[in-house]
């Protein structure tokens, strides 16, 4: 356990849901005992900046849950590669499909898949990695 931030070391992941993740979905994950923060509560200058989101998440040892993987200029796959190349540490990134969370029913399947995913992995296993949420 690191001496600087002992309170942040947990067995299972802590999450930071980005602004495009519905509050209802974050609340559903929180209801299962996860520590889930939401980017909408961060200062607006952080909300507007991908790097600032990842930095804030890294500082708080939170895995970022986000849908931005297809925009060439707002792309957490590219950021993951850039951060890894620079040897910067962070708690992990989980990519979920945007078209599934805007479906009234599909989002509950996303919740179940995300919980399965998180329940089977420790925070350590997720760190410094990019994960695509499994499709089933």
């Amino acid at each position: 356990m690191s001496e600087e931030t002992p309170a942040l070391e947990t067995l299972f992941a802590r999450l930071l849901c980005d602004v495009m993740i519905p509050a209802e979905l974050s609340a559903a994950i929180r209801a299962q005992g996860y520590d889930v923060a939401e980017a909408r509560a961060l200062p607006v200058e952080i909300q507007q900046d991908d790097h600032a989101i990842l930095r804030a998440a890294a500082q708080q040892r939170r895995v970022v849950v986000i849908c931005n993987y297809s925009d060439p200029q707002s792309n957490f796959c590219l950021m993951h590669e850039a951060w890894r190349a620079q040897g910067k540490k962070y708690a992990g990134i989980i990519l979920i499909a945007q078209y599934q969370i805007s479906s009234r029913l599909g989002r509950w399947e996303v919740r179940d898949r995300l919980l399965n995913f998180l329940n089977q992995r420790t925070a350590d296993e997720l760190s410094n990695q990019l994960w695509w949420l499994p499709q089933e």
Binding site: V19, P72, Q73, Q98
Partner: protein, 163 residues
């Protein structure tokens, strides 16, 4: 903006980017400046992170977005990040893609429901994204298909149990 400040900053370029006449851009600048959302010193413009959200007119919004380095579209609420290639259309200052709002719209969500679901967005912003989608259906549908294909190509089919 004082005359000197106008000369030092890149005023002519702003007018071209925003596409309205110089007087309107000047008035928008003065209003943003009066409210402490922008300032210029020795030709260097400083912009509050709140400028885009607190702008009260389309010209102010477009000016703030341009000064923040975004590429403008015909819709004052919809921008792209600059770069090669440029970013996908998204709602000003939110990092939420038009594509996502198009998905909600196609799933039959109402503006009020979307507003409740993504609480950082205003009604105006959601309507602007829907309008942009309706005016650019082919492009946004292409974006939606592309991101769906990317997800399906990368995400494993099943959860794998750890040993």
């Amino acid at each position: 903006m004082t005359k000197k400040a106008t000369e030092r900053t890149n005023f002519a370029e702003w007018v071209t980017a925003i596409g309205v006449d110089a007087d309107q851009v000047k008035a928008a600048w003065q209003e943003l400046q009066r409210r402490g959302l922008v300032s210029a010193r020795r030709g260097k413009v400083t912009l509050s992170p709140l400028a885009m959200r607190r702008a009260t007119s389309d010209v102010q919004r477009r000016l703030a977005a341009h000064l923040s380095g975004y590429l403008l579209t015909e819709n004052a609420f919809i921008v792209r990040r600059a770069g090669d290639p440029p970013g996908l259309p998204c709602i000003l200052s939110t990092r939420i893609a038009v594509e996502q709002i198009a998905s909600y719209f196609k799933e039959g969500w109402g503006v009020t429901e979307i507003e409740r679901d993504l609480s950082i967005l205003t009604r105006e912003e959601i309507e602007a994204a829907i309008q942009y989608y309706l005016n650019h259906r082919e492009e946004i549908e292409r974006d939606r298909q592309h991101s769906r294909a990317l997800y399906e190509a990368h995400a494993t089919k099943r959860q794998t149990m750890l040993a």
